[in-house]
């Protein structure tokens, strides 16, 4: 038998196991999921249509409901398979940078629209606000929804049907005024959200996963963050869809081990896996109540 001298240094130690295969790209995973589905009974396949179209409902939160939460709102609501999404700010007022650091532009939540702000800043100093990106941002925002909303003023469960008729992006599916997942963009906001949910007294008795994805408040980071949040949303939604499939009685026998564990149970693992891919966006999570 041939002896490989290169192994000598390894002594009797067992050689390293081969590296695990790289995770298949998402499209491949979806394809394999579909292949799995094809095996199912016709009865189950009637569910499939329903389950596949199932979407978790999201809520994105930052300080002013302008930059980070709106970038994420855009990403989630305009994804190839769009998610229902609503967004909020946790600050007391909407603050936008002004001509100097101590002259911010301040607006009220809930009563000022993005369009109003856009017009106002355009009139004030178009060059400045064009250059610092504010006008672009407001332009984006006013195409998404009417105006910034304050998280603390949100009454969970209050129907938001009018947002559909207003054409807010992400309003479809979030008419009920409830969400399954809240994603904040800063630890301060996460603290504020968890605290506010406790204060609201969880009237709906409905669990909600509250994540934080720490994103620096600038346009570039917001872009990266938005992408990362969409990634997280896709991962979570996939698990939720799997749960709806695995737990119907017809599919019960088919699901094994991992597939059977519920969406809720998988959340820490999903977040941990996500975090490895996005190590620069420190994440945090809890399960709270709406």
């Amino acid at each position: 038998m041939a002896y490989d001298p290169r192994l000598a240094s390894a002594g009797t130690a067992t050689p390293d196991p081969p590296p695990p295969p790289p995770p298949p790209p998402e499209s491949a995973m979806a394809a394999s999921a579909e292949a799995e589905l094809a095996d199912r009974t016709a009865a189950a396949s009637s569910q499939e249509q329903q389950s596949d179209s199932y979407k978790l409902k999201f809520c994105t939160v930052c300080a002013s409901n302008q930059n980070r939460s709106m970038e994420a709102h855009l990403r989630l609501s305009t994804a190839s398979s769009p998610f229902p999404v609503i967004s909020f700010g946790t600050g007391t007022l909407v603050r936008l940078p002004g001509p100097s650091i101590n002259q911010p532009n301040v607006y009220n939540f809930n009563t000022t629209s993005y369009s109003q702000m856009y017009e106002e800043l355009l009139a004030k100093d178009e060059r400045l606000y064009r250059n610092n990106g504010l006008l672009n941002m407001l332009e984006r925002n006013r195409n998404l929804k009417w105006g910034p909303e304050r998280f603390q003023d949100w009454v969970p469960g209050m129907p938001r049907v009018d947002h559909v008729s207003k054409g807010d992006k992400g309003a479809l599916g979030s008419e009920g005024g409830v969400v399954d997942v809240i994603i904040t963009c800063e630890e301060r906001c996460w603290d504020a959200v968890v605290d506010d949910l406790m204060n609201k007294g969880s009237q709906l008795n409905r669990p909600v996963h509250v994540f934080n994805v720490d994103i620096k408040d600038n346009h570039e980071e917001a872009l990266v963050g938005g992408k990362a949040i969409l990634d997280l949303a896709n991962r979570l939604n996939e698990a939720a869809v799997q749960e709806r499939r695995a737990h119907n009685p017809q599919g019960w026998e088919n699901g094994t081990g991992e597939a059977r564990s519920s969406f809720d149970e998988k959340v820490p693992e999903i977040l941990a896996a996500w975090q490895e891919k996005w190590p620069n966006l420190p994440a945090l999570w809890t399960l709270a109540w709406l």
């Binding site: 209050m158 049907v161 009237q203 709906l204 820490p268 896996a273 109540w289």
Partner: protein, 740 residues
Amino acid sequence: MAQSTGNLGDQVAQLNAARTLVLGDAAFYPQIVNGVLPIVGARAHLELRRWGAEFLAETFSSPALALVQKEQLSAVALQMLRDTLELPEKDTLVLKHIVEAAASLYPLVFRHIINHPEDTAAWENMTAIKDEILRRWDSFPFPVKVCCIKFVQRVVQVQTHGVTDPRVRSRKDPQATQPVDVDVDHFQRPEQNETSLAIVPRNHPLLSLPNLEAEASGLLDRLLSALQEDESDPLLVNATLNSLSVLVRTRQSIGNKIINAVLSFVPAKQARTPITPAVRVGVKSMERTARALMVNIMRRNNNHPLASKMQQHIDRLMQSRQEAVDDSSKKRGLPTEPTDGLDNAKRARLEAESPPLLKVPPLPSGPISYAQLFTLTEDAGLSSFDVKQLPVDLLVKIVVPLLARVEPSTMYQAVDAIRSRYQTVQKQQAAQPPPAEEEDDDDYEPEYQPMDVAAPETEQPAQSTEPADLQPDLVSLGPFVLPQPPPLSETEAADIGRGAVGRVFDMLATSTTAPAAKGKGQQNLGFSRLAGSTFDRDAWVTLLTRLATRAPAGLEGKPDTGKPTISDSIRETLYRYILEDFRGRVNVGIMWLNEEWYNDRIQMKFAASQRTEDDEEPSVNIHYDKWSLRLLDGFLPYLDSRDTKIFIRFLSEIPEVTIPVTQRIASLAKDPERVNLCVQSLMYLIMFRPPAREMCLNAVEDVYQTYEESRPAASKVLSRWRPHSTVLEQTLVTRTENQP
């Protein structure tokens, strides 16, 4: 098949349209709910059941629907939910929504039943749902378990006493769209009182207050058990923690219990190996959620009695997480560094930061010189180079830039090396007494190289400018004498004394009683044993009693100075300590009074011996009488007719029974319940304490005369021990007189 699928799809579409309708206008709810229920009932298709359960959960939690309407709809919904649940339902999502709906319905139905006790069907359905949920709680799939936590929290909230606002007289028409359980403090004047046990009438035919309260207490324990288990799932822990805030806020009676449970919860303990990234996410989330809860509680109530404890716990949580999880994450961080060559810059930098290890040659054995101590180079030429040959200004020119450029880590390493050398030498010298001077010189002279220092040691040049004298004794310092502390003022001394006493009392609380085996051994020693020779509680008690009685005896001036003395404060503390639990601490009392009595005797003897002819009566502070009566007065009011044994033991073991003591005992007879206690204790003293017999008999006579109830018992004692008592005869006479 296609037919049924198509039908199903149509049905779901229709249902969704109906939902959109009610979301648009809540007024349609009654109509829609009643119309939808038959379609989505217990035996409907899974997809329809899921839709139905979710819809009901949404309906009964909706802030848009008025309470009165929810209450009206609850009857039909309860029936449908119960049927579905008991079928039994197996689908996780349906179950999840059923439990959510039940959590919303529970306060609603509870309030309904308070006002309509005749609606037994609704209550029966609600109870059946509750029981079923509680029964299956542990076996439910995970997402349902999570919802059970919320359901149980609602039940606990409803079934404990809340705050009622007296301004709200009775149930007004609850047209308010706000749910009932919104925090009372959000409103100046609530429309109606929050649903809680506090608004249940005592004589309610269906709701029995004690049962409901007991159930709630049991459920709370079960709820909090998620925080007490060794291995809890972060999901359940977070769900629990996030549901507790409202209970702490609105239910004072259980607030502290909850906070204490949270305080004793340490998420880092849950960090089992292997610490996977998911475990880290879980631990961090539990820690942050616990923190959020405590911050929430503290913000609501700034001067919460447990606020400082919570703050401490928050700090500790942060720390423990860093140790348990983040530490390992740092260790794990390195291998994840890209190693594909793209990142060479980073890696090079990392390497540059770890300094070359300085080689520290061992010191030669035997006595060494300063020069040797500071020499780190092994280069013979370098170490024999005499720096003194260089002019000072040149030296300065060399040394200053050298100092500026030296690598800090190398510098630290060198300093550390020298320090450890120095310490070893110090130890060696401390171990062996320094040899005589002449010998030293002999040993050192030949080896002594005055200027053998030129290693890249930065402090060496400075060192070398000093006269490199031979100093064999590096550490021989004269004996160090602490300066006398400034004298204490009298109050300071008293304060410090009290502090010391306080600490000894703390020892009482913490130290345990001696182990049984040891105790036995001690008893066998009999009279030859020494009090206070072990460090158990008895020893501390002995110490305290003697501290109070003997230590300051004769030092405290005249009895009439009226100043509080340290011994009196110890006595006071002892007195309170005993009264806190006189049944358990009666032996402490006995021990103490014995010491007092003994000390009084010794003092009197001493005073008598000091007495000279022309002296007046010696005055001695007598403590025994005062404190025995005070102690007796302290616990007599709490004495119970069942405490006979303890009381008799006390009376029999105190060193002296005085007339005031017998009077105190006699006063017990005022209370008809304690007459027997009184007579029995007196009888005991009569029988077994001859010196006190006469005064006790007098006391019995007194009791006999004064209190009718005592006569049967007291007459027996008297006829046995004082058969010719005048009292007995008198009563006999009066009795015979009264009988015609």
